[in-house]
């Protein structure tokens, strides 16, 4: 019960914080039919700025990090990503009225990672004074890419079993490359590389970092608007996708929290790191994932996986997930 009470308090206090408040405000705007629109060019630029900020921060810190420390968390991230896909295929895919390709693609998207959820969680932890290794952001692709690959492989196997003629062979290498080249992952890696090998402290401190929270507030608004606007797409797909999208982020986050806790015991992975790992597990990819899946599993209905993820999964991961893992972190680690 205490957990619930703690969660309620944390949730209420997060509600006041810009990240969550702007997300909900965006949903309200769209629900009320506002014509307010953030231009696409601005949206893409904001995502770039956030990922650069995260990447630069991580890169500058990795310089001094012990690479050994990163190994186990990276492995945990990959495992979580894959388990989420397997869960999607066997749990969601087993439900009545759910097409198997749609289930696998949805599992893939929820296994993959959303940069905005990660950014929101980083801001919340900073404000709460919970420390984490800056390189935790670098775990993103370690969860993202395996999840997408596994989903695509599973869909290929499934089609082959169905005797589909379509069965073009899955080339894992090409999916890795495609993921790394996506706008989101390459912005993150760009920041990482620049943080690692150049001296971007100046621009980081006077440009990328001070704009971070403000730009994030706008991104949250966009996510809220998008979430509401896409709710209608879910009407066209089986109701189970709604149920999945409500529950899965929390299950995935708890799973990752548990695994992260083990890594904490083993290597001293920070409490903040464990919480962030839970958040990226709970999140579902909104930038790089959808086009990759669309191209590689064309028979899956994009309304099923994008609707589940954008309309419900992401808001739940941010609005419920972040306060939940923060509360858990407080209880478990006393942070």
């Amino acid at each position: 019960m205490d957990v619930l009470l703690d969660f309620a308090t944390t949730f209420a206090s997060q509600l006041q914080k810009p990240a969550l408040a702007f997300l909900l405000a965006g949903m309200a705007l769209a629900a009320l039919g506002s014509k307010l629109v953030i231009p696409d060019a601005i949206y893409r630029f904001i995502v770039f700025m956030l990922l650069m900020r995260i990447g630069l921060g991580a890169g500058m810190e990795i310089r001094d990090a012990n690479l050994g420390e990163v190994l186990l968390p990276a492995l945990a991230a990959a495992v979580v990503g894959c388990v989420i896909v397997v869960l999607g295929r066997y749990a969601l895919g087993a439900l009545p009225g759910v097409r198997m390709e749609d289930a696998i693609a949805t599992g893939g998207l929820f296994g993959a990672v959303s940069a905005s959820s990660l950014a929101a969680a980083m801001v919340v932890l900073q404000e709460e004074g919970v420390v984490f290794e800056a390189w935790v952001a670098a775990l993103y692709p370690f969860m993202d890419i395996p999840a997408l690959i596994l989903a695509i492989v599973m869909a290929g196997l499934y089609r082959a079993k169905q005797g589909g003629t379509e069965g073009r062979p899955v080339r894992a290498g090409s999916i890795v490359v495609q993921s790394l080249r996506s706008a989101a992952v390459s912005a993150l890696l760009l920041g990482l590389a620049l943080g690692l090998v150049s001296r971007p402290e100046g621009v980081f401190e006077e440009f990328y970092d001070p704009l971070f929270r403000g730009l994030l507030s706008i991104l949250m608004l966009v996510l809220g608007i998008e979430a509401w606007s896409r709710l209608s797409e879910l009407r066209e797909v089986a109701h189970w996708f709604v149920a999945y999208a409500l529950v899965a982020p929390l299950v995935h986050g708890l799973l990752a929290f548990g695994l992260g806790y083990l890594v904490h015991l083993a290597t001293g992975f920070s409490p903040g790191g464990v919480i962030l790992l839970a958040v990226i597990a709970a999140s579902s990819s909104d930038i790089s994932g959808p086009p990759t899946l669309r191209a590689a599993i064309p028979s899956a209905n994009p309304s099923s996986y994008i609707g589940s993820s954008t309309a419900i999964g992401t808001p739940i991961a941010i609005a419920v997930g972040i306060p939940l893992y923060l509360t858990l972190g407080r209880i478990v680690f006393g942070v």
Partner: protein, 106 residues
Amino acid sequence: MSTTSKATKLSIVTEKLNEQAIERIVMEAGGKGYTVFDGSGRGSHSTKTRDRASVVGAFSLVKIEVIIADRAVANDIVDQVSAGYFGDFSGIVYLEEVEILRREKF
């Protein structure tokens, strides 16, 4: 005016995601060029947006216009695009007759 001759204009409305692949088909099948426009629309699949922030940008639409002097080449492109990109993806294709100058360019 220099004399004109008849040619076929092929218009392909497709998800942006498929833009490059279809352009490759066009050039390999013998097209001499193409012009592309951003758009949005509605059909039997869900509505596609343009301009407004769209978390899933790669799903907005493009229209690819290809003018081809040789009808057989046009037919070939239509077949290839229909086979590869209209089963599972949104899209339409249609043909029009146009008058061109400088026939050697098309």
